[in-house]
Symmetry: D3
Subunit: 243 residues, 6 copies
């Protein structure tokens, strides 16, 4: 089991993982990783405006959102997607759900984690999810939490791209070339039928991050011709053998 | 020429490259890099207190400082060390010297550069050197500067560790394991006879950065047993294929 | 009902709205707005020292504070003032009270909201109130929260002036000329009998913000002769037709 | 002369005003402003890679860049464009050129100014231009500088959008709807023949800022349907009569 | 009782007070202070890896950790040490425990308090402890909290040194010479048998802070020859009679 | 000479030392310090609007400003005031003037220095003066600068209060009680006849800083009844024997 590399995405709402790190997911699956996605809620109340306008019930909204997320996960070749169904707007993660998330962390043993920006005045669920991610990462590292289980190492926590990045104080330090999996990401995006106003937005983001990738990898002086990229902010320092 | 990888260190004073990135230099030399060091000044006025107390003249101080730096460079197996002799306290880099530095940049074509922190209220030479480093990097990238020459790509600029890191607003994001070259770094440090009060200081720093390396690479859960490390802050985002 | 413009003030303690945005309230009432003030607590324990020194009971303190706040609200011509009576030092807003606040937001449909600074190490109730304000704003915008109700748009959240502004990391970006309603604000201030040590303090603040208004509107080169002003920090970007 | 409103753009290189505030220029011209653009350099060395690759001489590059900028200015209906021809990579503004810029400021008497972000590690010309902008604004306000001339008031300085916004620490607080002049901006962009790799980049930026405009003006709850927008960061607080 | 000066340390886990402010404790005891230490938890789950590896039970771990902390407190001559035993990883301080902490604050009436850094992504217990410290300080100052008791004045809150200072955004503004009590601090450190990997780490820290003390007190120009120091960040401004 | 303590104020324009640290000057003179003030310019062009409006010539303006500054210095009992007459708007300190300032620093051997905030978008002379202050402090500390002279120790650099503090990113960490010398400060303020619009402004500031002093020294719980105070931001950490 330990032989395959793994990664874990914690998504406050069902669709966040698609816009914000769909490329990273598909790419790492292609690179031999098993990527697990935990959706803490369906985003049923706050991110499903079109469905409510259409008169759907809460149960219907959740069911539709789940299906969309599962379809997107399939398009991205996600290894495992779990729905915690904790409610949104506001998201509340109680002590039991935190422990459940710790269990996932220990079971997955991710090389890296992905979650939201540290600050988001538009969407307090997002920053709350990241607070929880840091807390459960700490608990999963504790030798005295469920002694005998394999403790968690020290996976990087990458903060994926929020909407309106500058308002969040989010500054990316890592650009990932997702050109080879772009079609998968776009296919996953198109599973989100209730949020069509964001399809082109995140396509624009991917193209522009691609431009930035080229500029930072050497630009017109011979840099790599990435066409699409995703950007991430690291929480922890990297440990390396070569700069 | 392009076959060997290369790196460039810009050091405000003759000894800075030893304390702050001597390990990185020795390690990358061992990894097949050619590392060039440019000392903008000898640190003759501001960082040679013992020599002045001993009654040395300016010429003598510069000569001694040069010899110490050369000896340290040798201990670190530096590929090339250049002394610009621009004066210190304050360091002033005029337009011609900037162009000379651009020439070095284009000639070396470094994969990465190393320089001081962005801010240093104790030592304005340090932050000024980094301002200059950014300016010459930009000029070296310009197709219209000495057209026909090979332009510079987009090398990372790593800011090496300042004294009293927190006062400089410096936050490392990269920890480099220098255990295998520690003996070389310590030997280089001991070439700096006029600053013995710093030998143990930077040995302590290297040990503690080693501890931090272990913590960030997995700690007691199986992280790598680095004993000595150096820390760096990146100015630009990384471009990667895998997180 | 939608024809009159409206605004909403969320005040952690009963007197905060007076010192910090009394001028804005009176001015917008005069401009045709209906301004609603929600006092989450009376500030009975933490901001009523004189009353406790006089031997008043908890019930008496709350009653006196309420009367003072009502008198101040009247002086400012407040459209509606609501007391949530949630307790102070510490203020705790439970889930039901958050939902009650969401109801107010949806009912008022404010063009803008006013609340405390993001950070306040002296008074954790203040920063907590702003956390809650962001959370309830988000909930009120959700189409799936009490479907069928009119959802909230995207009102600006202005952070009004804290005590010791620099300690709070608060930076105003908006100066409001309150000269024409200054007498009302001073009258409201004088309703706060238990905090006379602050009367002159906030009068000084208003005069000095007036000076800053003049400097930023053109100074001696022809700026507007505002004598009293209030300052605010915006959380969200403005959307405009003209710079 | 004082009857028409005016604005001033300070552009480090000849093309910057197009990508970064072309919409604001065209829009304010349409709103009755006279917008003056000062290009401190042609960006001849650092931002004309294609021309140098084609073997053009310095004189030719400058001439071509000037023509492109003039064509773009025409597309945007710029009132006046001035070329200071101070050289780029690095840009150096000597004392005489600063005084020339002060003269422009006093002559134009802008209601607001536009310039680059405060920080730009990729392009030190950009941040240097903004340092100069603040310095000349101060000088133009001095009653003792060329006594007898009309001194400058206190125009806002808006920092227009840099490339890779997050790396610059740039945070917009103002979103301007440029939908009605988008065609003009795109036409101006297409005048920049040497930088076609940026055409789509800044079209994407404008579309995404349009999305952000809608979100901040009320989103699906009835916000204005802006399709294209530009974003700006204010240096100074606003002075207002109404929040 | 008011005649002896006092100080209060709030330690998230049983050992934190040793590494982070053991010198300050011993020194102030020697200066005539009564220093009280509150350990909110034993750090039993998260900071006792060796004990768990040895197969100890929860009760045994807590007992061992308590004994170690008591021994360290004795080495430092701590006036009073209290164990709240609230659990760790995560630490949770409920309303009753907060009130118990308020009681301690009022009883001790400290001249200054010591607690963790404001931010710690590795260890959310640490930053949570500081949130609680600010909250209980505020409550203890309220005249209406348990009226009749002596309210708390305005003690400084010093944030003691975290691990990996730069990652925490912690910037020290106060360096304390602990040379005269270093032997006591080292003895206390050696009581922490389960964390031997930190003994040398914090010895290095103390030596290097000593170097920084010398540099900031006048360096080679006649500064005081401190050999060991501890560093602190103040939350509140100081009130002084002389700069 | 070394027996009396000393301090040094570096004032960009002739009046700055009055508004921003007049109380600190008078107080330290009363405490046995010799306080030297260096005015880099008279503020003749940029801070003498009224005189220019009255038709004064440059020579007259400088003469009047000098007399006002001398009168204020006398009211504050300044030990020595020196006018460098380097021009303002913009202030330019050439290499020779820097060396002259180094000579003053070494001659005065101040226990602490006072200068402007690090950032000031309204007045680039102010932030430039502080850049220069840090540079000359560094040079004065160099054993190789004019060898044989007494080098400077490590005096604190306090940044005194700017206008519109929050816009400057200035955060005070030290409040100084100036109640006993307030009359002197007010008298000095009234020497600045050309800037009467600032008299009350800085009186308000002093009163409100007094309020903040009381709050931070214990408030209603027994803090010291300071009525007037000045606030300062420290650049360097303090070195202490007791917290």
């Amino acid at each position: 089991m330990a032989e395959r590399k793994s990664a874990l995405v914690i998504s406050a709402h069902a669709a966040d993982f698609v816009w914000r790190c769909g490329g990273a997911i598909a790419l790492h699956q292609a690179r031999g990783y098993d990527v697990t996605v935990v959706c803490l809620s369906y985003g049923e109340r706050g991110e499903s405006a079109r469905l409510w306008k259409d008169g759907k019930t809460l149960g219907e909204v959740k069911s539709i959102r789940r299906k969309e997320a599962e379809a997107a996960a399939k398009a991205l070749n996600v290894h495992d997607i779990q729905f915690f169904d904790l409610g949104d707007y506001p998201l509340v993660v109680d002590q039991d759900s935190k422990m459940r998330l710790v269990d996932v962390l220990r079971s997955v043993q991710p090389r890296f984690m992905l979650c939201h920006s540290k600050y988001d005045p538009y969407n307090t669920d997002h920053m709350y999810a990241t607070e929880v991610a840091l807390e459960v990462r700490m608990i999963a590292q504790a030798w005295g939490h469920n002694p005998g289980e394999q403790v968690l190492g020290a996976p990087q926590l990458y903060l994926f791209e929020p909407h309106q990045t500058e308002q969040m104080g989010w500054k990316p330090d890592t650009l990932l070339d997702i050109t080879e999996v772009w079609d998968q990401k776009r296919a996953a995006i198109e599973c989100m039928e209730g949020q069509q106003h964001l399809w082109d937005y995140y396509t624009n983001v991917a193209e522009n991050r691609g431009n930035q990738f080229r500029r930072n990898s050497g630009g017109q002086a011979g840099g790599r011709p990435a066409r699409f990229a995703e950007a991430f902010q690291s929480v922890f320092p990297r440990t390396v053998d070569e700069l």
